[in-house]
Symmetry: C3
Subunit: 454 residues, 3 copies
Amino acid sequence: MGLNKLVLASAVCAALSTPLQAGSELATLLMVLHENGTISSEQYQRVLAEMEASRQQEEQLKQGMQAQLDKASNVDVSLSKGGLAVKTRDGRFSTNIGGRMQLDVASYGEGSHGAGSTLGDGSEVRRARLYLKGTIYQDWFYKFEYDFAGSGDNKSGITDIWLGYKGFDFEGLSLKVGHFRDPFMLQDQVSDNNTQFTERASIDAFTAGRHIGVMASINRQHWTTALGVFGDKASNKGGTADEGWGTAGRVTWMPINEKGALLHLGLAADYRSTRGNDVRFKQQPETHVSGVNFVDTGTLTDVDSYLSLAAELAVVQGPFSAQAEYVHSRLDREFANNATFDGWYAQAGWLLTGESRPYTFKGAKFKAIKPNSIVGKGGIGAWELALRYSTIDLNDGLISGGEMDNLTLGLNWFPTPGLRVSANYIKVLEMERAEHSLDNEEADIMQLRGQWAF
Amino acid sequence: MGLNKLVLASAVCAALSTPLQAGSELATLLMVLHENGTISSEQYQRVLAEMEASRQQEEQLKQGMQAQLDKASNVDVSLSKGGLAVKTRDGRFSTNIGGRMQLDVASYGEGSHGAGSTLGDGSEVRRARLYLKGTIYQDWFYKFEYDFAGSGDNKSGITDIWLGYKGFDFEGLSLKVGHFRDPFMLQDQVSDNNTQFTERASIDAFTAGRHIGVMASINRQHWTTALGVFGDKASNKGGTADEGWGTAGRVTWMPINEKGALLHLGLAADYRSTRGNDVRFKQQPETHVSGVNFVDTGTLTDVDSYLSLAAELAVVQGPFSAQAEYVHSRLDREFANNATFDGWYAQAGWLLTGESRPYTFKGAKFKAIKPNSIVGKGGIGAWELALRYSTIDLNDGLISGGEMDNLTLGLNWFPTPGLRVSANYIKVLEMERAEHSLDNEEADIMQLRGQWAF
Amino acid sequence: MGLNKLVLASAVCAALSTPLQAGSELATLLMVLHENGTISSEQYQRVLAEMEASRQQEEQLKQGMQAQLDKASNVDVSLSKGGLAVKTRDGRFSTNIGGRMQLDVASYGEGSHGAGSTLGDGSEVRRARLYLKGTIYQDWFYKFEYDFAGSGDNKSGITDIWLGYKGFDFEGLSLKVGHFRDPFMLQDQVSDNNTQFTERASIDAFTAGRHIGVMASINRQHWTTALGVFGDKASNKGGTADEGWGTAGRVTWMPINEKGALLHLGLAADYRSTRGNDVRFKQQPETHVSGVNFVDTGTLTDVDSYLSLAAELAVVQGPFSAQAEYVHSRLDREFANNATFDGWYAQAGWLLTGESRPYTFKGAKFKAIKPNSIVGKGGIGAWELALRYSTIDLNDGLISGGEMDNLTLGLNWFPTPGLRVSANYIKVLEMERAEHSLDNEEADIMQLRGQWAF
């Protein structure tokens, strides 16, 4: 709109100069009348002088008005999917308000329910987040996001709270300070708004998550790199013991990265020194409603540090997309043998309505699908079919965290940009965990999500 | 403002076409001069051609400017009572930010205080809510509201979080999915901003409250109907047990519904299958500051399901309004006799300053009173006197939840739209509850509220 | 922008009147032609009449357009440091969205760490606040602010929630109702965004803090006064016991108060009747990350009431500023001897880059430093060096709350308005507290803060 106002200003001023051009007819007529001897030279000069005075007056008005219009169109307000975006025309300041709402319903079948039930059917507000983000004096940018469904029980609802600086001369370089997601694993970098399934694959047990830290990153069309040093989570409330710290880094290479075609390769590492704090890896069967973990190492107390390594692969070809990751995690323990856990997943999706899963090199991740046609304007939105296999192994030596293999079938519907309805059927193919009431059971889960993000 | 901008655009363009009209004087003069033989046909044609060229140039500018103005006035920003409302001129998108703030002070008299005191004098932030709501692609609409005074202690501050769809051809039909209030009882449908007293009548013990669910409703000038199926509350955090579910419906008939005159009749039902979850009915003596319940069944464990039925009546005639409701609730218990509780209230109000209590058929409920005159502009705002009698009986068989009859005198002052000060004097006429320290005492309560809603 | 639009409207209208002025050339020509006898009187009158008709038409358009422009420029949107400010041109309504984000990292040296460690190194989100404030019908104003980092553990994140009225005829008089900071101590009135050090001096143990109450204040260029009556905190959840209440007042005199020069003198008192509620004074060593108190009276149960008195002094001369306060607190106890605690601090700052620490008589407090030059536009921002000595004594009779003397060296950097980075080195000169593991230890603390306020 800022640009439009500029063009508008020009248009108005051009329009206002038309009396002058209209005046050119008058000048021509005057000249004709003078040439014909109808009016005297003195009369001719007198009217001409009046015309020139008018022209100068108009010119002044034009310039004053241009200045006023520049100020009037200083700020630009727009709505997007129900949020609010305001920016100054000079790009030095901006403020955005938005959020995401996710509502889940889950029903657990035999093997997970009934006699010896451990998974309770139900519904939940999965996420209810609002954010405020902005640009400050062009080079600085910040975000604050809070999850109103995620607070309580020693958890903080704070997700993102960071300040960035991008005023460097080096192309694509930026610096971030605050509480944000460590650069580890593709499926973690992709917003949960835009994941192909309602929950991330089970290796999310190895997620680095969010910490307070500082990170430098370079994002370019065909490669990215990010490296950060991190303290503890925003929810850690201090105390008499030192907090843990860690470092995480990720590099990606996208030899193909154009509209509708992608080849993405990535490597990432996450090192964490616990400084005496407890460590625990656990995961639900790719559902969140019941909150029951299928694999769980329990609290591991004497871990000095651990190092997780991840390898990423993603492909897009028109309406088809595929994505796979492998994670390996090694724990250094003081008074016990070191332990090693790992897991991987592979998933593929097909957009039945012909869209292509969009990707951005800024953060090297997938973005939100925009339907080609919109419900309510004669369209049916976008429809996507997806399939995923995932496996995780948290058994090593004396640690019996369990093992789980899942197959998930997903259907996603995007009636308009910002809206999404997802249905997931999750079949636990194998679940081995000694002393767990569902050991050797093959649970199946039907899960629905409604989501609007703005 | 959107419309204004459109009118403005037309005005500007009309104004800019005046050189042409001003040019019509010139055309007339030219014609005259040509007719008089002062200028030759050739000269006449030459100046005329210049005029036509100018006219076309101006026409182009006009159209370009119209297009630019259309874009410039695309978004409409307005403030209302301290909130923010933004919408696109085409009505396809809107975003609103608003909230409500309620501050209470309560002092408890003899029979509720002093020796054997159970009600503590004090003040509290009763509600501190902010909401964000919006329209997405015209047919979809959402609301997210959070109560910053209502979180903590296993409670979630989430009140409303829902997505609606109104793109149906059927007049007044809409669909809602999410966490919102079940359609049960008139006094629950009326926002607590707009209730006649600071707290709802004691049968609020039977409130259906809010749940995650789906609801269809039809709202028309003279009747409404709503039917929903509901899971559990947003604050329920899942677990190993299944959550409860329920269904609620409400029909209303308003044979008289015009400005200043209303006859409202309503029936509603709320059925809930507990699926093993506990049930408890309890109520404070229409005050919230101390948090002490006067009637309370305690936790009832073996309830299979319960069904509550409500009948509603409301009347408005000029500055007078009246409202009454009766609720009957029946519990099905597995290993004990079924139990039946009930209660009712009747209240009447008189707007001393002549306003009429406003009503909307959208949800079949009362709205906020708008004062005829405003404090600060020579007015005194709106003043309302109100009286209520309420009774509730939670005794049945072995369940001794108690019985309470209250009389409340209320005075409401609305200095401007959005602002409200309320004073309530509540006299507990009878309170019978075995083994309660206030059994047979007749407490009296003085309560003040300051409120601003925007 | 409102004003700009007004000026713009005038400019447009003036511009549109130019056809008339341009028409004056035509009028002159007509007159000339008529005088020369080229056109007849009838022809002259005909063209003149057409001109007059055009002029009137333009005048109407001008007025209509003026009205439309007045409406179009009704609301004014601006961004400031990443927040959002909207106001109506008539000043009757406004809505502002803003907040503050503070991130801390602290490292504790010998004497506070290592063997016998009690202070844990770490990082934290110190404050994450958003606010909404506004003007309602010109005379009323409100603020709601929530600290998303401050909730949980029986604490409410609500900081400010109040409604004010300023429609009095008496200059500088305003009334506030709600939850806000009691008028006590200069360092408490100064926003934590604008304090010279990351944490307030140790006598913050005597802070009156925020309560629900009502306050009248008069703010004038050379003096202010404020007096309030207060109930309990927003976090107090009522119950069977009465809440405490108190009253606090503050007067200040600023014989010198101009740009770059200030002499501020202040006196304040805070009285609180506990009504049986517990009392506790405690303080961390001017760091917040670890959360460990160095001085702490523990819970004092039989305190009837207490009265704290404070004396304030502040001076600004160009880039130099100084500030000092003394607080004395006396506890009346029922079954024990009365107790007396006290403390004071003195601090001085020097803005190396030549700015002056700004002050406002509205609340009689310091404001945010605005750098003369901005990072990213060739500048280095503002840099400030500061030094503080503080002492507190919580020992009296049988109460051994301890004694602490601290010296703090601070460096503040303000790259742009709204952004701040602070480094504080705190040396505990003396810490005497019987039975505390750090008794007689001289801890030293290195603390960093990143802050953006908008």
